[in-house]
């Protein structure tokens, strides 16, 4: 897209004798992929901006009931998406919900990225025994249904944003470990690693200086995709009542509250769901687009 806009601003005549069709067809084939990157980036940026704004400014307090304002329809001045059954502004709640989604989703993805990278690198670079132990451990954790574990975790630790982040970390770390391990093994088999080792570089140095930068693309892509998965899971847990609680607000919690009076005002059940879909869609598109740019090998396999 960047190259496209550049070429549209500065028209460069094609040099004579150079076959233009090949580059043109190449560009056309890459276009849908780039489109997913741009749509993903736009959606993600919008939600990040909304979450950021919600820290400084909210149209009204999303937690204080105002009974005379209950169930205002969308389009009411001051409450453009209406209010819920307790008269709380929908837009304000959606804004705080964006903050919760991003905090919990990114939190879970970050912790599991860190733990998964450490475990994955350890598995890839250590001996067969360590590798086997870490890999089998990850397999076992993957075969435990996450939703059920999260319920138990919420029951024993008390539910809240921190517990949800912890639950997400427990689900995602084994997947990260596997991906990082196989990516790192791929890099460790390259010739320049042998060269570095022959030069006398230590294991940690090789991992930090040579392996990490080469798997950074994989890490970024995976982070984006699990960020999205984390938002979906958080919404589900909050819907079940074992995620975050007021004064925190989650889109999943809003849907739970809306469902209690679905017959009364169904639009209330629309907005939070739409927010979840757009945010998750945005991150997934961004992840797919980034994969195409950062990790062409994986992209070819995935498509």
């Amino acid at each position: 897209m960047m190259t496209m806009s550049k070429s549209s601003r500065i028209p460069v005549p094609a040099p004579p004798g150079v076959p233009a069709p090949t580059t043109a067809s190449k560009k056309r084939r890459r276009l849908p992929r780039n489109a997913s990157l741009i749509i993903g980036l736009v959606l993600t940026t919008i939600f990040l901006a909304v979450a950021l704004v919600s820290i400084f400014y909210l149209p009204s307090n999303p937690n204080i009931p105002v009974i005379r304002n209950r169930l205002l329809p969308a389009g009411t001045p001051g409450h453009w998406l209406g209010t819920d059954v307790l008269g709380r502004d929908i837009i304000a709640q959606l804004m705080v919900g964006a903050r919760t989604s991003i905090l919990v989703g990114a939190g879970g993805a970050t912790f599991s990225l860190i733990l998964g990278t450490i475990a994955g690198l350890a598995a890839a670079a250590s001996g067969k025994m360590t590798d086997e132990a870490i890999s089998r451990g990850a397999d076992i954790m993957l075969s435990i249904p996450g939703m059920v574990t999260a319920l138990v975790l919420a029951a024993t630790m008390g539910s809240g944003a921190l517990t949800t982040i912890l639950a997400l970390t427990a689900f995602f770390t084994p997947s990260f470990t596997r991906v990082i391990r196989s990516a790192a093994i791929g890099v460790l088999n390259e010739d320049f690693i042998t060269a570095a080792k022959l030069y006398g570089r230590g294991k940690i140095f090789v991992l930090a200086r040579h392996v990490l930068p080469n798997i950074a693309g994989v890490m970024i892509v995976q982070f984006t995709l699990y960020f999205a998965a984390g938002i979906l899971t958080e919404a589900g847990l909050s819907y079940l009542g074992v995620g975050v609680h007021r004064p925190s607000i989650s889109w999943g919690m809003m849907l739970n509250e809306a469902q209690q009076q679905v017959g009364v005002s169904s639009p209330l059940a629309i907005w939070p769901g739409l927010a979840i879909v757009l945010m998750v869609l945005g991150l997934n598109l961004l992840g797919d687009g980034l994969r195409d740019v950062l990790d062409p090998k994986l992209a070819r396999r995935a498509s």
Partner: protein, 315 residues
Amino acid sequence: MAIYALRKLAFFLGAVFIASVAIFLLIRGAGGNVAAVVLGKSATPEAINALAHAYGLDRPLPVQYFEWVRGMLSGDLGRSFRTNESVADLVTARLSVSIPLALSGLILGLIIAIPVGTYAARNVGTPSGALLALVSQIGVAVPVFWAGILLSLLFGVRLGWLPTGGWTDWSDSVWGAIRSLVLPVLSLGLIMAAVLIRYVRSAVLDVMNQDYLRTARAAGMTRTEALLKVGLRNASLPLVTIVGLQIAELIGGTVIIETVFSLPGLSRMILANVAAREVIVVQSTVMLIIIFVIGVNLIVDLLYGILDPRVRSTR
């Protein structure tokens, strides 16, 4: 094959053991006097001690763990503190809701995903292929409970064709039970389909680039014939694995959908007992689910070993 099977079996046993320790520690290690919580504030210390003693809660944790495992192995899953019902009976009663729900959801997902995914793979780069990719991309982003809420709004509230929630038991009316399962199964199946379409598509795409497909075409089959007779059989191998991996996802979806439609299934029982601190009911039920999931994966691995000799040697 025998060595491969033994190794998989050893993994199964190891996984079940580790999971059981983890679940036990997670539920019991949280601290607090379980008996006191169960009996409530008005209970006398004597009553609390009596309950703790009756259920063995006053013994050291390792002893309790081994007692629990011994009970599980001999088919005794323990009893509820409050009602003294056996966990086995509680679970069995709920399975008549959860199993039809989860199974039909998975089957519906596959029925949609296999033809649609195959079609999407055959039409890569065309507008209809791109549209399908977009639809499944959106479908993956839809939370299963929102799909449930929207379907119940449309078919339950707006059109009034089906119940918005609740359960009619099989013994009261088979038709009523089916009616109360239609929307939950539809929500679960549609979301499963969105996830599965992407896997089917890439599995079929992989197969389409293989030499044997070209051979089949060279032998005189049409493109469709070759894909259906040769391709689909080969694409079904990775599909078996994916279904195994999706089991955990399926159970997660079932947990939520049972809540959306107020179905008295297994997961709602877990939720209620978690709130009531019925630790024995929770730990035994959760353990059963985990054994089921790991067991399905064991079967998938063994099937894979039988279907494709190559995996036996590489792993």
